[in-house]
């Protein structure tokens, strides 16, 4: 698969607030290549630069040094900015603060309207997007009467209606209840199946475990990356990044310590539970010899 986003030597500084202050370096020489159709999770503590990275991906923030190429387009080039933003959609953390209109379907239509899509085509696009995000039934409701999860689904539909090839979730699950989180994760899985590149910025280890690739950031740099099995195997670095292991892995470690040989490829809680049941049903091989 080809590279969809490539970041080379990215540096981003937040400007100083007062003349005496120094600018704050949020991203400090970061290289990253993201393949088309992949699902990448970005982990890190508060202030590790992960949200800043997200905003660099669609030109909301422009690189101070180095460059960010989206499908070959440089985000620093003003001529590309709208093309890039419709290619890389972004779902933010607070669902309330990203809705423009009071009615669900009007809000979903906001993106296509800005892109100048003809009216009949907007209808097709938003219906498809609302169905994909599971909010179609609520399309005539008022936004402020929806639950947090439904609001976030509306925001996702609003991004999908622009028909992006990549969606960045900037801590989009952080303010949701478990049910809302699960809903958003389901949509991400669906997007992956349709070949849309997804990037999930998160604090939640259980969500990161489901990605193809995990990136761990600290102080504006990538300190660890690879498939989840490999990344979470490096306990020392995970701790150094100020992160905790996913609960499923803590349980797995504990099981291994008690002599139950759980294989390495099991990362998710569901998979772990399933494996345990299957092994138990297979007749406790350890007792027989």
């Amino acid at each position: 698969m080809k590279t969809f986003i490539s970041i080379e030597g990215l540096v981003y500084d937040y400007p100083a607030r007062t003349p005496e202050d120094q600018p704050v370096r949020a991203i400090d020489g970061l290289d990253l290549h993201i393949r088309e159709g992949s699902f990448t999770a970005v982990l890190g503590m508060n202030g590790s630069g992960k949200s800043t990275l997200a905003k660099c991906l669609n030109g909301l923030y422009v690189a101070g040094d180095g460059r960010v190429l989206v499908d070959g387009m440089d985000t620093a080039d003003d001529a590309n900015v709208w093309k890039i933003r419709s290619t890389v959609g972004m779902v933010f953390q607070n669902p309330d603060n990203q809705m423009v209109s009071s009615i669900v379907e009007d809000d979903v239509a906001f993106g296509p309207e800005n892109l100048g899509v003809p009216s009949e085509k907007i209808r097709e696009r938003i219906d498809a997007a609302m169905k994909a995000a599971g909010i179609f039934e609520q399309r005539h409701r008022k936004v402020h009467l929806l639950s947090g999860g439904q609001k976030q689904r509306t925001a996702i539909a609003g991004v999908l209606a622009m028909q992006p090839r990549c969606v960045v979730f900037d801590e989009s699950t952080a303010m949701l209840d478990p049910q809302g989180r699960a809903g958003v994760m389901e949509i991400i899985e669906d997007l992956r199946r349709t070949g849309i590149t997804t990037i999930l910025i998160t604090h939640n280890m259980e969500e990161a475990v489901r990605a193809d690739r995990v990136i761990v950031m600290k102080e504006g740099r990538i300190i660890l990356e690879g498939p989840p099995a490999v990344v979470f195997a490096d306990r020392r670095q995970i701790e150094a990044a100020g992160l905790a292991l996913p609960a499923s892995l803590t349980v797995r470690d504990e099981l291994i310590k008690r002599g139950i040989p759980v294989p390495d490829y099991i990362l998710e809680m569901d998979a772990l539970a399933e494996w345990l049941v299957r092994t138990a049903e297979a007749g406790e091989p350890d007792d027989e010899d």
Partner: protein, 275 residues
């Protein structure tokens, strides 16, 4: 509690009036407003009132729903009524100490009160039958010709719709801050007027800060969704005039002409209690 306040007084129904183009309704409300000030006697009011009643019936909005909108202005209504009733010279009807009610005063008072009632009923019908979004779209479209002289039509409409969108969000925010401050012992309910106004400071400052934060977030989200002003923007619901809208315009012109002709005394009917 504070969240129970309902704003945006749209009454959801599917009527002839609801289906009219918002531009027609805005123009009609404006013309109606002007026409009320043309009326000079009670025959004129009878006519305007009959037309209004017909429109209300056609709109399917219950009368008590509209009457509810009168409550906030009840005080003003009463006040103007009382001022007018005592302030005019003429044949004395009732004498109350130094004050006296005259025939002219009574006529004037009833006249002004009727004018206010008709004004509120008629114009509130606009917001009852038009969704806020349609209203802002209509305003944008009507203001568009003024863009040439520098009126930012799209921006005004966008600001209005965002303001409407964020009323419930800010109310929720207010409620949250109020509870947080009350949990720390803030008292919003007791004390005299001055003390109470002062106790609002710990509410208003965080609210302001939050409002700015929300505005920043929203601006970023809008940019991420390719918002770049009104240029080249299309609409999900493009506004199109239909036959019923044309008919409404014709009726509106007819209404205005009749009111003007009648108020100038050009009709072969005498004026009734002319003011």
């Amino acid at each position: 509690m504070i969240r129970d306040i309902t704003l945006g007084q749209y009454y959801d129904a599917d009527s002839v009036i609801h289906r009219l183009d918002p531009r027609v309704k805005i123009v009609a409300a404006f013309v109606y407003l002007v026409m009320i000030f043309f009326v000079r006697d009670f025959i004129g009011y009878l006519f305007v009132g009959a037309v209004l009643a017909a429109v209300i019936i056609a709109s399917g909005v219950p009368l008590r729903f509209i009457a509810r909108g009168m409550r906030p202005i009840m005080f003003i209504l009463l006040f103007t009524f009382l001022i007018n009733i005592f302030m005019y010279r003429g044949a004395v009807l009732v004498r109350l100490g130094p004050l006296s009610i005259t025939d002219n005063g009574l006529k004037q008072a009833v006249f002004i009160a009727l004018r206010l009632v008709l004004l509120i009923f008629g114009t509130s019908l606009l917001t009852y039958t038009t969704k806020p979004m349609a209203l802002t779209d209509g305003i944008e479209s009507l203001l568009r010709p003024l863009r040439r002289i520098g009126v930012p039509a799209h921006e005004i409409a966008m600001m209005m719709s965002i303001a409407l969108r964020f009323i419930p969000t800010l109310l929720e925010e207010t409620d949250k801050i109020m509870k947080a401050q009350q949990a720390r012992g803030a008292d919003f309910e007791s004390g005299n007027l001055f003390q109470r106004a002062k106790s609002l400071i710990p509410l208003l400052i965080p609210l302001f800060v939050n409002a700015f934060r929300i505005a920043m977030d929203l601006a970023m989200a809008m940019e991420a969704r390719c918002y770049r002003g009104g240029e080249g923007r299309t609409r999900l619901h493009p506004m199109k005039y239909r036959r019923s809208d044309a008919a409404a315009y014709v009726l509106l012109i007819l209404f205005a002409v009749l009111v003007i002709v009648q108020s100038r005394g050009l009709l072969p009917i005498p004026m009734l209690w002319e003011v």
